[in-house]
């Protein structure tokens, strides 16, 4: 087939002109791309001042991005930022701490070689804005020629709602000897319980990670660490750089901020109720024949031990709380 070979610059110029003519969603606008055209519609949601809505601003005094959170409530109470209620006339602000979701962490493979792991990544929305490709696992990286025009940098920051809860830390010391294992010491610590259900706070975090609850095995072994706070991520704020930023550039007033919300409504917070304790009585054999009882109870002891462990697990009480919408 005899194919036309236009100058690459001319063809690419046409493609770029079409790219330039596309409608992109700005503030208060939604776009829906269809084969027959792009529907542009007003997005009233953008102007809906829901609880926890975040307004960002560049603070020239501290040269940092700051965030004001529209008051949201937990059990009818406003949370605090740095000790001040967010309903206060002074309007406390959060300062953004940034992470780079484009960079993968460095790992070491089984054969001892260093590699770059897949990065956190970002919502697909930012691809259309020209954010550069997030790092892929270098062991399976494939060149993506379509991404060459995307040069913008991206940073992210999480906004968290937090409240103290009862959390226990149990640490037993078990010694083994020829005669078996014995518990020779241990400590149990409770977290700060003074403000449970009374105080909620907001803070910004470079990268928030949900604290892990003890596993079933840890409960059963009796050695565990419970979180001393209940937390929920309200939003992630993303900062997008201008095209072709300098190496090492960090968010300044030239960057544009976007917020992805995980919560839109007020919350009720509730902790679990302690369960009623279940008393387990061992199964014993009483035949009136001492030798038969001894043999039978010996056999039953395995089941009794298992039942006791299940009872211990069941009786273990967590005060993990939950936030739900109301």
């Amino acid at each position: 087939m005899n194919l036309f070979r236009p100058p690459a610059d001319l063809w690419n110029d046409w493609v770029r002109k079409v790219m330039k003519a596309r409608a992109l969603p700005g503030f208060g606008v939604q776009t829906f791309v269809t084969p027959e055209g792009t529907i542009v519609r007003a997005n009233p949601g953008a102007t809906f001042l829901h609880p926890w809505k975040i307004t960002t601003s560049w603070d020239t005094t501290t040269a940092a991005w700051q965030m004001v959170v529209r008051p949201g409530f937990v059990d009818g109470l406003p949370p605090k930022i740095n000790g001040t209620f967010i309903t206060d006339a002074d309007m406390p602000v959060l300062t953004a701490y940034w992470r780079n979701p484009l960079e993968g962490s460095i790992g070491v493979s089984d054969d001892g070689a260093f590699y770059t792991a897949t990065s956190e990544g970002y919502p697909k929305f930012f691809e259309t804005l020209g954010v550069r490709t997030a790092a892929q696992d270098s062991r399976s990286a494939t060149y993506d020629p379509s991404a060459s025009w995307r040069t913008r940098e991206l940073r992210a920051c999480d906004i968290i709602l937090s409240t103290p809860r009862v959390g226990t830390i149990v640490d037993l010391t078990i010694s083994s000897s020829d005669s078996g294992s014995t518990i020779t010491g241990g400590t149990a610590t409770w977290g700060d319980t003074s403000n449970i259900g009374k105080e909620f706070k907001l803070y910004s975090s470079e990268k928030w990670t949900q604290q892990a609850e003890p596993t079933a095995l840890e409960w059963m072994l009796g050695t565990y660490v419970e979180p001393t706070v209940d937390e929920i991520k309200l939003a992630t704020v993303y900062a997008v750089s201008p095209p072709d930023p300098e190496d090492g550039a960090e968010p300044d007033s030239t960057w544009v901020l976007y917020t992805k919300y995980f919560a839109f409504w007020n919350f009720v917070y509730s902790t679990q109720r302690p369960r009623n304790r279940v008393n387990y009585n061992n199964i014993t054999l009483k035949t009136g024949i001492p030798l038969a009882d001894e043999i039978g109870n010996g056999m039953l002891s395995v089941d009794n031990d298992t039942a006791q462990e299940i009872q211990n697990f069941y009786n273990a009480t967590s005060f993990k709380g939950k936030f739900y919408n109301a």
Partner: protein, 190 residues
């Protein structure tokens, strides 16, 4: 939909039918169609877009404050309209919409007070018997056969007035569970 950057070529690449069709599809797909809230005029140099937003959302329990008077738009608790002084908060055909007096709001030590719904339950059946709008300085301390759910928060200002923050946006449901010496009240959006 074609990924436009994938249509970019290097010097010497052939212009294949796939590339040409891809660009044609992209041009068609990039046409601007006018959706809700958008008005547009096609001009020789481009398309002029104007945007208008919808009116604010008239949700249940929306509090309107005029001076020291507050009215609350219709909202239900367990399917029954909440009352103020025994009158449904949106009024009836014979009684006007009741007004909540905020001339002397009650505040707690943090300078906060609430407009709340106080739900009363039957002490034997634990079923809701009434849901009345109140202005209070605390959401607790009403005994085990009553519970309060906040509608909005009043924050006392140094000037003597107050700021108001809406808390409830939806109709509500309530259920009470009998415990040992305590009653657990749950509220959730209907």
């Amino acid at each position: 939909m074609d990924d436009l950057p994938s249509l970019l070529v290097k010097e010497g690449d052939e212009l294949t039918p796939k590339l040409w069709d891809g660009l044609a599809r992209a041009v068609r797909s990039a046409r601007i169609l006018f959706g809700d809230g958008i008005r547009g005029r096609r001009l020789p140099d481009g398309t002029l877009l104007s945007c208008s937003y919808w009116s604010p959302w008239p949700h249940p329990f929306k509090v309107a404050i005029a001076g020291a008077d507050a009215t609350v738009s219709k909202g239900t608790m367990g399917g029954t309209e909440v009352t103020l002084g025994g009158v449904p908060i949106s009024g009836t055909s014979s009684k006007p919409q009741p007004i909540l007096d905020l001339s002397s709001p009650k505040y707690n030590e943090d300078g906060m007070g609430w407009i709340a719904i106080e739900v009363m339950i039957d002490s034997s059946t634990y079923k809701q018997t009434s849901a009345e709008l109140v202005q209070v300085s605390s959401l607790s301390g009403v005994g085990q056969y009553a519970a309060r759910h906040p509608i909005g928060l009043l924050v006392r200002q140094d000037s003597g007035g107050f700021s108001f923050f809406q808390i409830a946006y939806f109709n509500l449901q309530h259920v009470a569970y009998r415990g040992t010496g305590v009653t657990r009240h749950f509220f959730w959006p209907a």
